[in-house]
Amino acid sequence: MMISRFRPAALACFIGLAAGAAFAQGASPQEALYIKSLAATCANCHGTAGQAVAGSANASLAGRSKDDLVTQMKAFKSGARPATVMHQLAKGYSDAQIEVIAAYFAAQKK
């Protein structure tokens, strides 16, 4: 199965933005800015654009499959996946935000 790209339907509710912010497929510069700045809330621990430092215990997120990132975040959120911190942070993001963030990181260079 192909790794799914952004589905416009999943984005319609993203913080009041118009749908279609397919980051890798030509979001408007304004939409791209909002998406980057939402994803940047992960960068403190996971690196700018999801590229964690070499040897880091924190995972790099750049270039991971979107589906995998969404699945992991939802598992943290539900508590299905145990964690030290991520189960507490994941609960701070809506499912729509998780979709946006995951699509952004999936489109970044590893």
């Binding site: 913080i15 980057k36 621990c45 430092v53 507490q88 942070l89 994941a90 701070g92």
Partner: protein
């Protein structure tokens, strides 16, 4: 734990962040007469904002960063320098990647004055730089004069704070090394808000760990002006009871009024005097001097700077954005390095939007993750996610998110150090 997948990828694909580091000097060339964005202060807030304005604008907006220090020295992890686990080099990051990799013009100087009408910053060296947008991120100033005798005791090197990591961190470590077995290390904490709420308790804990291993007859005294431990209280208290019983003692409601450096005595408003061999007296804090001098400190008894949380623009001066520990905090927003980095990103995105003629993101988000070591290896944390609530014009924690550790673990100690290397790269590389 199902993390092997992530860990493997983390190790394999964490590439480039450090590749351009390790070279020296930021080789300030000429100082420009003006820049679209000028940033005052290269700490967690200012450095992050400088980098992110460049990165988020696809390197179209020029940025000047004014910072007097040669390199960034991190307050987080600096308590491990005090306990002898880390060295200063471990917590120091050069500014060179900001200039070489991101094209920030790094000017090694102090901002001497700001003219918010003319929109200029004048440097200690005499140069003046005009700006369209100014970011002020000067951290905190210690209010020495709120405690009688403290300014002189600091100047003479007898009573140190080490609340800005740097030479005082090294000097306080030396005092601890020189303290005889059986001595007392006393740390005093001002009333909240102050920089890094759990920092004093972490410091007391790791120093207790050092003394327990090396000078077992010694003691640690925490003298807290607050009613109770202000952060991670139940966790710290458990650690103190289980690991440091008989070594570390916590006393609430101890507000320092004066110090006698020669006698090694701390005086309080109500409680009896305390004598100690190493005194670490933390006075009240307020917004950094340049913010105060510019009149941005309009809130909290004129100690902190009011901002519009949507873009961190000062409520006093147009096109001046204030970040980090200097601001009047929103509910449950700690004065932490992680939070300052988060402020920097929200402000940078807002500034890029404004300078591009776009609306500001109406729903910015912030995170905070703050680790505290309790001994050389184990750490605990507090974490939170904050969303902008337009109706109330402030940030609030997202309901149901955030929390603290169940207890100290070595795994969290590993994550704490990993957090540090990643946030240093995110802010400076």
């Amino acid at each position: 734990m199902k993390s092997q997948h992530i860990s493997r990828r983390g190790v394999l694909h964490s590439a480039a962040a450090l590749s351009l580091l390790g070279l020296t000097g930021c080789a300030t060339t000429s100082i420009p007469q003006r820049a679209k964005v000028v940033v005052v202060g290269g700490g967690y807030g200012g450095a992050t904002a400088a980098k992110y304005v460049r990165w988020l604008s696809d390197y179209k907006i020029d940025v000047v960063l004014i910072e007097p220090q040669e390199a960034f020295i991190s307050c987080p992890i600096s308590n491990l320098v005090l306990s002898g686990v880390k060295q200063m080099a471990d917590i120091t990051t050069p500014y060179s990647a900001l200039s070489k990799r991101h094209g920030v013009t790094v000017v090694k100087d102090i901002a001497k004055s700001i003219d918010t009408r003319a929109k200029t910053v004048t440097l200690g060296g005499g140069a003046t730089i005009g700006y369209d947008k100014l970011i002020v991120s000067p951290g905190i100033d210690l209010q020495y004069d709120t405690i009688e005798g403290l300014r002189a005791a600091n100047a003479s090197g007898q009573i140190l704070q080490a609340w800005k990591a740097g030479p005082e961190t090294v000097a306080l470590r030396r005092q601890l090394e020189a303290m005889p077995d059986g001595g007392v290390f006393a740390i005093t904490i001002p009333e909240a808000p102050y920089r890094c709420p759990p920092g004093p308790y972490e410091r007391a804990s790791v120093v207790a760990g050092y003394l327990k291993a090396n000078k077992p007859r010694s003691k640690v005294l925490i003298l807290d002006a607050n009613q109770d431990v202000t952060s991670k209280g139940p966790l710290f208290k458990r650690v103190w009871n289980e690991q440091y019983k008989g070594i570390l003692e916590y006393r609430a409601q101890h507000k320092v009024t004066a110090v006698d450096a020669k006698a090694g005595v701390i005086k309080f408003d109500v409680q009896e005097d305390v004598k100690a061999q190493v005194l670490n007296v933390l006075p009240a804090m307020r917004a950094g001097a340049i913010a105060v001098q510019t009149g941005l400190n309009n809130l909290g008894s004129n100690r902190w700077c009011g901002v519009n949380y949507l873009n961190f623009e000062s409520t006093v001066a147009k096109d001046v954005h204030v970040l980090g520990d200097s601001i009047q905090i929103a509910p449950a927003m700690p004065k932490s390095g992680h939070m300052a980095n988060s402020h920097g990103k929200v402000a940078a995105a807002a500034i890029v939007a404004e300078l591009s003629g776009w609306p500001i993101n109406p729903a910015p988000m912030l995170t905070n993750t703050c680790y505290s070591f309790i001994d050389p290896k184990m750490a605990i944390h507090v974490a939170s996610v904050h969303e902008y609530v337009a109706a109330e014009k402030t940030f609030k924690t997202v309901a149901g998110s955030g929390g603290v550790s169940t207890g100290p673990t070595e795994l969290e100690g590993v994550y704490a150090l990993s957090w540090a290397s990643n946030i240093w790269a995110d802010s400076l590389s």
